[in-house]
């Protein structure tokens, strides 16, 4: 069961004590409908380790107040904790400066922030945004709204039959130099495909375009490095990284933040307000209007500490083994069609059974204690692209997922096919 990555992976993964890790997640000890919980929907939202829960509790029991404008102990402590979370995110992404980190509500809000502020405030009508067929709705709809509002064209790069970004098509769509922004998923939430972002960034920059990467999936599965990558914007969402809901991250270069007009108006994002006019606070405060997600920032900080202590390389190695194993087991099942076979992929598998509608299949699996998602996973155009308008079933892995759980899924799928025969 040693993965494709060879010795190095095996070594890393052997230091990865899955049983200990599973004990860190209280919810995994549950039974569901009398069966042990097999949670294979981490791609939608991950479960929370005790460390995250405890950090949030401690924040509320011992160190809570509103941040920034209080000259008293609790507010100073809360401010420190909030800014420490920003620092932790900066280190996690290897950002050059903590001020490059803007806290938002989730990935969706982060992409919308860029679409509104950069899209409406910096881009010019006549320019285009280039996305791909495999995007999550969060990286489609904001650009459609921009297109319809401001006359900025929306171009869509094709996805190959194996589920990879068609780089020739990217090149063709960049060729006329009109693309101002390339906005693409670092990793697909349906196909598991990890995009060749280094190449895409180089191609985009050569064509004069900025690059936004939707790291909602990728940042959970691999180490990402802002200074090495050279993108312009990067987003991810706390709840998929074992952190709480209600918090997301936009990483944006300071020079971009300087040029961007504010998006939401309110407290904390201003330096001066009169009724006639207001002046904006310096980045990143300019983009953090109102009371921020304080408790959630503390939770996210704990989540980052948690995955960092295990080590992103170890997490990646563990996942690589799981992915190889799942690939073998799933492709063995008669009548199962897997969407996408990208070379570089993470632990997300979308598939269809020939004789079972995804929704019926999900209900069956649920009865076996297996939590998977059925539908189009907020990627309707991608499902049309692959001719599966009716949707797929998706199993997605977290760092607590085991090979046994994959086996269990495979067995249940075989039995489900018999059930509907």
């Amino acid at each position: 069961m040693v993965g494709g990555g060879g010795v190095n992976d095996a070594t890393l993964a052997s230091s990865f004590d899955i049983e200990r890790i599973r004990r860190d997640f209280p919810i995994l000890a549950q039974t569901v409908r009398g069966k042990p919980l097999v949670f294979l929907d981490s791609g939608a939202s991950a479960q929370k380790p005790r460390a995250v829960i405890d950090a949030m509790v401690r924040c509320m029991e011992e160190r809570y107040a509103n941040v920034h404008r209080g000259a008293y102990f609790l507010s100073e402590a809360a401010t420190e904790a909030y800014e420490a979370a920003r620092g932790a995110v900066a280190r996690f992404l290897n950002a050059a400066d903590p001020r490059e980190i803007v806290f938002t509500t989730n990935s969706t809000a982060a992409i919308n922030l860029v679409a509104h502020s950069w899209g409406r405030g910096v881009m010019q009508p006549g320019q285009a945004v280039l996305i791909s067929e495999l995007e999550h709705h969060a990286n489609i709809v904001p650009w459609q709204l921009l297109r319809d509002d401001k006359g900025i064209a929306l171009r869509v790069a094709r996805v190959t039959d194996s589920g990879e970004i068609d780089l020739d098509d990217v090149a063709a769509k960049l060729a006329d130099g009109k693309v101002g922004l390339v906005a693409m998923a670092h990793m697909s939430n349906v196909l598991g495909t990890v995009a060749p972002v280094e190449r895409i960034i180089r191609m985009a920059q050569a064509a004069g375009a900025k690059v936004l990467l939707d790291g909602s999936q990728a940042a959970v599965h691999r180490r990402v490095d802002m200074q090495a990558l050279g993108a312009d914007f990067y987003v991810f969402t706390g709840h998929k990284l074992y952190g709480p809901t209600g918090i997301g991250v936009l990483w944006a270069r300071l020079e971009h933040q300087e040029r961007m007009p504010p998006f939401l108006g309110g407290g904390d994002m201003i330096s001066m307000v009169t009724m006639e006019r207001s002046e904006w606070a310096p980045p990143p405060a300019k983009f953090e209007a109102g009371t921020p997600p304080i408790i959630e920032a503390v939770g996210l900080h704990a989540a980052i500490d948690y995955v960092s202590a295990i080590g992103m390389p170890a997490i990646e190695a563990h996942e690589r083994q799981l992915v190889d194993h799942a690939m073998r087991r799933l492709t063995d099942i008669d009548g199962l069609t897997l969407l996408g076979r990208a070379q570089d992929r993470g632990g997300v598998f979308a598939f269809a059974l020939d004789n079972a509608h995804p929704h019926d299949l999900a209900t069956l699996l649920d009865r076996a204690g297996i939590a998977v998602r059925a539908g189009r996973h907020c990627a309707e155009p991608l499902h049309s692209r692959f001719g599966v308008e009716g949707g797929t079933v998706r199993a997605s892995f977290g760092l607590y997922t085991t090979a046994q759980e994959v086996d269990f899924l495979a067995e249940a799928l075989t039995k489900a096919r018999e059930f509907f025969a």
Binding site: H357, T363, L364, A368, G390
Partner: protein
Amino acid sequence: MFDDLRDLYQEVILDHGRKPRNFRRLEDADRVARGDNPMCGDRLELFLKLAPDGSIADAAFQGRGCAISTASASLLTETVKGKSQEAAHALSDQFRTLAMTGACPECGATLADEMERLQPLSGVHEFPSRVKCATLAWHTLNAALDAAPGQIKEASSE
């Protein structure tokens, strides 16, 4: 492994799910409506042909969906044929109660035979996220009955 699911997926449901009855376009339909369940991507189109007295002379549907929504639509077309529009409306209300609660204590005797026929779908009430699969066709029926001739009404189970 899935034996306790025989309540939900009774043989009649699996059968109607696999081989839906009246699964066709009615080219000369008097009433048409489209139903949409954004949750799972199920879509169907329902066609009604009315008799001179206004009652439902024929019913058919097309579309894609899970076993439950397909079976529900299939059973619907069989059950409403010959009904007056009022009776069809009443049946639709009763069916939705059945799907949501598993029973319909106040259904009375008027449509007892029809409700008995639809009984196999009652197991869905134990599966909150699936109730909408069962009710989609019936929402669409209401929309079709309310539609003006020539108009295509949209219904949603959300």
